[in-house]
């Protein structure tokens, strides 16, 4: 078990080294002549107005909240799915009941209008 995660760790390091090497080579070879106009924010030729870190639609926030509920709950389903063959029919039905509660939650959110894009 420990060995497996060591392997993943090594893979992660190698996976970071490859793009870093590409950028480093580029940094050595490429020219560097910065000037204020070149570094200004690109907005199709317009000068940018105001702060760039703007506040944005709260709608995204609601979808993120809905997602959070579902994602946490679906993680509980993985052990159930792995052990499905060894479970009795009753346990399988219990799992289905759990999913039905999730779907009822989705239906409630739908009815409340949280899934409408306003």
């Amino acid at each position: 078990m420990q060995n497996e995660w060591l392997y993943i760790g090594l893979f992660l390091v190698v996976g970071l080294i490859i793009p870093t090497a590409a950028i480093t080579i580029s940094r050595i070879v490429a020219p560097r002549k910065p000037n204020p106009i070149k570094q200004s924010t690109y907005e199709c030729g317009m000068e940018t107005v105001g702060d760039n870190w703007v506040q944005f639609k709260a709608q995204y926030y609601i979808f993120a909240l809905v997602f959070l509920i579902f994602d946490v709950e679906t993680v509980f389903l993985f052990p159930w799915a792995v052990a499905l063959d060894k479970l009795a029919l009753f346990a399988v039905l219990e799992g289905i009941l759990f999913i039905l509660i999730l779907v009822a939650g989705l239906a409630y959110i739908w009815r409340k209008g949280a899934l409408e894009w306003v």
């Binding site: 497996e4 392997y7 993943i8 090594l10 893979f11 992660l12 190698v14 996976g15 970071l16 490859i18 793009p19 590409a22 950028i23 080579i25 580029s26 070879v29 490429a30 020219p31 560097r32 910065p34 204020p36 070149k38 570094q39 200004s40 924010t41 690109y42 907005e43 199709c44 940018t48 760039n52 870190w53 703007v54 944005f56 639609k57 995204y60 979808f63 993120a64 809905v66 997602f67 579902f70 994602d71 679906t74 993680v75 389903l77 993985f78 799915a81 792995v82 052990a83 499905l84 063959d85 479970l87 029919l89 399988v92 799992g95 999913i99 779907v103 989705l106 739908w110 899934l115 894009w117």
Partner: protein, 400 residues
């Protein structure tokens, strides 16, 4: 154990012998051999990535009735190397007010999140990095790092377009992750394990036959997670120019591009492994001869990569409210219903003959898909009638 039955272990044993012959400690030799294996694997993946640039350009050209690159080398095969040289010698511009650390880290994470997925891909029964027993969860976790890199890029670029692109990617990712998780639960149920190798081993009948709807849901949510058309709102070039990577130049842009292509190919490979039998497959003896098995996996990966490209260059981009409505009001309910039906059928049909089991599963999937389409049609008709009823009095008032 010969070179043909077990090439990786054969070479690894030989290398370990060589290192031990030099007087190296046993543990150190093992780690060094593993490291060499990882570097070879990652390099092959990157070489494939370079080849994918050529495939992408050539195939899109054919879809659009053009010839594509055909000047540099035979069939334009050297073209991607010319592209890379161009990208490397371009100046790297950092925009004013960018958050430098996050800005520079984003392209690295973008490519890294794809490369680490290859750690769990079993190319053949004996050629695999590591057979994690939580493979399906690892796939989701690594995919989330890719999305994180897009958010980092969009937020740190100090550009409104980039920020909007990142927001859209977050919305797409948080929505389509649910059907993807559920689609991953279906092979898990059928195989009884989350490990990729176990899932391939369990496919005496390909899972696409047992669960065609599951494979379709996985493909759709994978396309959404990749951010390719029709779900490419995060880089919609006609409205927010290039979205999250608008301010990136030179090799940093190249890394995003390479990451996107490799991501699409990797998800194609996962579709092949999860639903289309992995190494058992178009070519015979994939299970006995590892090299043929690896070739099979790559062939399936390239085929599904082509399918994803086909969808990309055929469909138009859809609006974000349509995209989210499609997910939350159609795909997610269908996925959950399919999960329940699969679990129940798997339990009820356990112990029956394979052809009854397969037939039952297949018919259950078709039924769920058909009912879902009928329900969607009824819902759409109700919406349309309501809209017409709303529009009716207004036109009558205009007549008087």
């Amino acid at each position: 154990m010969t070179l043909w039955n077990n090439p990786t272990n054969f070479i690894a044993d030989w290398l370990r012998g060589v290192f031990s012959g030099w007087g190296m400690a046993e543990g150190l030799a093992v780690i060094l051999v593993t490291l060499i294996g990882i570097v070879v694997m990652a390099s092959l993946v990157m070489l494939l990535d370079i080849f994918l640039v050529w495939v992408e350009r050539k195939v899109v050209a054919r879809f659009q009735d053009r010839l594509g690159p055909n000047r540099v080398g035979p069939f334009g095969l050297i073209q991607p190397f010319a592209d890379i040289i161009k990208l490397i010698i371009k100046e790297d511009i950092t925009p004013d007010g960018a958050d430098k650390v996050v800005y520079n880290l984003a392209p690295l994470l973008s490519l890294m999140s794809v490369i680490i997925l290859w750690a769990i891909i079993p190319l053949a029964p004996v050629i695999f990095g590591v057979d994690l027993n939580v493979g399906a969860l690892y796939l989701i976790a690594a995919g989330a790092i890719g999305t994180l890199s897009i958010i980092m890029a969009g937020w740190s670029s100090n550009n409104k377009y980039a920020l909007i692109g990142a927001f859209r990617q977050v919305a797409a990712m948080v929505s389509y992750e649910i059907p993807m998780v559920v689609a991953l639960l279906i092979p898990t149920i059928l195989a009884g394990t989350m490990g990729m190798k176990g899932i391939v081993d369990a496919q005496s009948i390909w899972f696409v036959i047992l669960s065609p709807l599951g494979a379709l849901i996985f493909l759709i949510s994978a396309i959404a997670e990749l951010g390719r058309t029709p779900f490419d709102l995060n880089e919609a070039e006609s409205e927010i120019v290039a979205g999250f990577h608008i301010e990136y130049t030179g090799m940093k842009f190249g890394l995003f591009y390479a990451g996107e292509l490799l991501h699409a190919f990797t998800f194609g490979t996962f579709l092949g492994i999860l639903f289309f039998g992995g190494w058992n497959g178009p070519l015979p003896w994939g299970g006995q001869y590892p090299l043929i098995g690896a070739l099979n996996v790559v062939i399936k990966g390239l085929f599904f990569y082509w399918v994803i490209m086909w969808i990309k260059y055929t469909l138009m981009r859809i609006r974000i409210d349509h995209m989210l409505a499609f997910n939350w009001k159609f795909l997610t309910p269908v996925a959950f219903v399919l999960l329940m039906v699969t679990a129940l059928m798997d339990k009820l049909l356990a112990g029956t003959a394979p052809w009854i089991y397969g037939m039952g599963m297949f018919l259950a999937n078709i039924l769920v898909g058909w009912l879902a389409l009928e329900a969607a049609r009824a819902y759409a008709r109700r919406q349309r009638l309501a809209k017409e009823a709303l529009a009716q009095p207004a036109t009558q008032a205009a007549h008087h």
